[in-house]
């Protein structure tokens, strides 16, 4: 069974802290994604990665960085957490098949609160 796991379901951090969100997939997928989800805004792409050590900025990368040292693991880093980064963070993975559509498999999400 396909599985994407995220390190925490709930996280509370203080302003200015460095925050690491971890995501692991067991499907040998090339693509991995980090989104944030806010009410009324849908899912917005923060960063994505096509392969190990490769990363591309999404639509809202400011204040975030990512790391992909192994194919199965994609980490999202908040260098200095701020209250406007309070949100639900979703990780996803998918195959990469040029010219074909594919399904993104999502983790359960991490609800991050920055106080």
């Amino acid at each position: 069974d396909v599985k994407v796991t995220q390190s925490s379901r709930y996280l509370v951090k203080r302003t200015g802290e460095k925050v690491f969100l971890e995501c692991v997939q067991d499907m040998d997928h090339e693509n991995m994604f980090w989104y944030r989800q806010d009410p009324g805004l849908g899912l917005r792409l923060i960063y994505f990665s096509y392969d190990v050590k490769m990363k591309e900025k999404g639509d809202i990368p400011e204040g975030y960085s990512v790391s992909r040292e192994k194919k199965e693991r994609f980490s999202l880093i908040l260098e200095s957490a701020s209250t406007n980064q309070t949100s639900m963070y979703l990780c996803a993975s998918s195959l990469w098949l040029p010219g074909l559509y594919y399904e993104q498999y999502f983790g359960p999400g991490t609800r991050l609160t920055v106080t």
Binding site: V4, R9, N31, Y35, G40, L41, G42, L43, R44, L45, F48, Y50, E56, G58, D59, L90, A92, S94, W96, P98, G99, Y101, Y102, E103, Q104, F106, G107, P108, G109
Partner: protein
């Protein structure tokens, strides 16, 4: 920048009613997906539509892709409380697999 407008944002109906959710864009997509998200979980893919004019059925759910591949609709017949959730449309461009999501439609079906 490609945008997907989804409507309505909220829908509260009684069990047994029919409903339609719309997803519109000014851009042409190579394909479009519909996801459903339950509270506390990530979105799960329901369907992918690829060809303009395509209609796909999944039990009581009917998905349609517009002829020009700029819009899509999700129709639910005889809604049940188990259909409650957030429905998201997502457009795909052949640019490395990125999805652009609509804002979502929060559906509540009351018994």
């Amino acid at each position: 920048t490609q945008l997907l407008e989804q409507s309505p944002q909220f829908l509260s109906i009684q069990e047994g009613e029919n409903l339609t959710v719309y997803c519109n864009s000014s851009s042409v997509f190579s394909s479009l997906q519909w996801y459903r998200q339950e509270p506390g979980e990530g979105p799960v893919l329901l369907v992918t539509v690829v060809t303009g004019g395509e209609v796909k059925k999944l039990k009581r759910l009917t998905f349609q892709f517009g002829d020009a591949r700029k819009d899509s609709s999700l129709h639910i017949t005889a809604a049940q409380p188990g259909d409650t959730g957030l429905y998201l449309c997502a457009g795909i461009w052949n640019q490395g697999g990125k999805l652009i999501f609509g804002q979502g439609t929060e559906l509540s079906v009351k018994p």
